[in-house]
């Protein structure tokens, strides 16, 4: 438990100091200091991100890639600088492989429509896992409707772990595309994505990883993983909403048709023929979210200044502490007990619906997610309509875990 982290004296992670970087954490909710345990839905932003966005809006804003005037050049430099920051963060080969999108959902839809739809046909198979968020299910169902290809689903076990052997057994000559989460948003399960990618490649399939829940908690190296596509959102990474990233291997992106048409994604337009822009701008029609990209880059700087490994170790300590504490409460059942988890603790309380639990915790100032977590198939697998979910970020402390445990006791009192 918490004791086994005291090995070879890593620099102590000072979550109390980190908290001071997040002004929203001073909020009082229903008369109680906010206990924010919903970072898996959306994390909060540090001052460094708020200031970077303000600085861009105050000093550098104009449209990008257009004017020769000073501000347009400043905006372009800020936006393209953010792209380079993202490239370094995930160790992509080139900024041509970094497409700015609204978020993970848009990234997956882009791949579904610009990679999947033109290539797939009846008889082809797309393979996903039973752990996926709706954003990594529905876009593929749409491609299946459009092309006649088939969706296959690799099962999970009662601990909420992917049954890897079953997934490997589903891979075959018809498998054209594999799309799986790196970390499950509903249960916190970490999937063996490197192993999955290697196996899929051996069958000639292309792999998309939904990294929305992984990027805040682990260092992602897209080249070491061998991912063909990797998607994530800014707002789960201490950055702004409305900005996200699709990484794609350059040769795949180059061979794909554009997804949306408009300004910025073209080189020349006439009524007879339009030639498309180069990567990455071919996939960025319209004026992009410049301040969002700048904020995302600042969030990456911030997270690296804390140390990704130190943050991950801190969150792992909190997850283990909370798991042990909740396991001691007789009425609590933890949903998702995989051997390898990150940040997320999903649970139910006997006799108290998750929705009531959410209201009772809120009255104590504690923010948790309650519901199906946009993963209804996961809920049906466990025979539940919903769970409560606590999730941890760099600013959470052992005090937050204690507050949660205490408030769960109150819930028992309210419901007798």
């Amino acid at each position: 438990m918490a004791a086994n982290v005291s090995r070879a004296a890593p620099p102590p992670f000072d979550a109390e100091r980190v908290r001071r970087d997040f002004p929203i954490l001073d909020t009082l909710v229903n008369g109680h200091p906010l206990v924010y345990l919903d970072s898996a839905a959306s994390s909060q932003r540090p001052l460094a991100v708020l200031r970077a966005v303000e600085d861009y809006e105050t000093h550098s804003h104009a449209n990008v890639h257009r004017g020769v005037h000073a501000l347009s050049q400043a905006a372009t430099a800020a936006y393209e600088g953010a792209r380079e920051r993202v490239r370094r963060f995930i160790n992509a080969r080139s900024t041509r492989e970094i497409i700015f999108v609204r978020g993970t959902t848009e990234a997956i839809n882009l791949v579904a429509q610009a990679y999947g739809r033109p290539r797939l046909r009846a008889g082809d198979e797309i393979l996903i896992s039973a752990l996926e968020h709706h954003a990594n299910i529905v876009p593929w169902q749409m491609v299946c409707e459009q092309t006649g290809c088939t969706l296959r689903v690799a099962p999970i076990n009662r601990r909420g772990e992917l049954q890897l052997e079953e997934l490997l057994g589903l891979l075959g000559p018809r498998t054209r595309l594999v799309a799986v989460a790196h970390v499950s948003n509903a249960l916190g399960t970490v999937l063996p994505v490197k192993r999955i990618i290697e196996a899929a490649h051996a069958h000639g399939a292309v792999v998309l990883i939904d990294g929305a829940q992984a990027v805040p908690h682990t260092r992602v190296d897209v080249r070491a993983l061998g991912a063909d596509f990797y998607a994530f959102s800014g707002h789960k990474l201490y950055g702004p909403t409305g900005i996200g990233v699709l990484y794609g291997r350059e040769e795949l992106l180059a061979a794909m048709p554009p997804w949306q048409g408009g300004g910025d994604m073209i080189l020349t337009v006439s009524f007879e023929k339009t030639t498309y822009n180069e990567l990455p701008w071919k996939f960025e029609a319209g004026t992009p979210n410049m301040s969002g990209a700048v904020g995302l880059a600042a969030a990456m700087d911030y997270l690296e200044s804390l140390g990704l490994e130190a943050v991950a170790a801190h969150e792992q300590r909190l997850l283990q502490l909370a798991t042990a504490e909740l396991a001691r409460l007789p009425a609590i059942e933890i949903i998702g007990t995989a051997a390898h988890k990150a940040s997320v603790l999903s649970f139910t309380m006997k006799g108290v619906h998750p929705h009531d639990l959410g209201t009772i915790l809120d009255a104590e100032g504690i923010a948790v997610r309650t519901g199906h977590h946009c993963a209804m198939p996961v809920m049906s697998f466990f025979g539940l309509p919903a769970t409560a979910r606590a999730s941890f970020g760099c600013y959470n402390t052992e005090r937050d875990v204690a507050s949660l445990v205490q408030a769960l006791g109150k819930a028992r009192e309210v419901f007798g």
Binding site: P354, H355, H372, G416
Partner: protein, 147 residues
């Protein structure tokens, strides 16, 4: 915001021991209600004698507010005719959404739901069963959703 206002004894009692729980088959009217936000689902069954709700039952699973609201509703509307049910629906709607109003005396035990209006995120939990009953009475068979 006081949790005791939301989770009154009447609510907790009807959640633990829902009245008129089950199905009527065949039913003169039935409808399913769904709150996609929280995954709550419930079905309402009615048997009519002319304009009168002679019997009513519900089943499903949901939070304490939605279960208790449905249970209280079945007790309140059984034996009433359609127009009286509609009137009661309007009174419950006002109770759930208009802060500050005194609860109408005609509401009886349903007045226990008045605490819900201090919790806007929970209003749909309490109103789902009423919308579902409406659908069962209007259309005979339907599925409705809070979203």
């Amino acid at each position: 915001m006081d949790l005791k206002d939301l989770y009154r004894d009447v609510i907790l009692d009807h959640n633990r021991h829902p009245r008129n729980f089950g199905r009527i088959e065949p039913a003169d009217g039935r409808a399913e209600g769904h709150n996609p936000l929280c995954g709550d689902r419930l079905s309402v069954f009615v048997r009519l004698e002319g304009e009168r709700v002679a019997d009513i039952r519900f089943e499903g699973r949901g939070c304490a507010i939605s279960t208790a609201s449905a249970s209280l509703m079945t007790e309140a509307v059984k034996g009433k005719d359609r127009s009286a049910v509609r009137e009661l629906f309007n009174k419950v709607h006002a109770l759930l959404t208009r802060p500050g109003d005194e609860a109408d005396a005609a509401l009886g035990k349903l007045a226990a739901l008045s605490g819900v209006r201090e919790f806007p995120a929970r209003v749909k939990c309490a109103s789902l069963c009423w919308h579902t009953l409406n659908a069962a009475l209007e259309h005979g068979a339907a599925t409705i959703s809070t979203e």
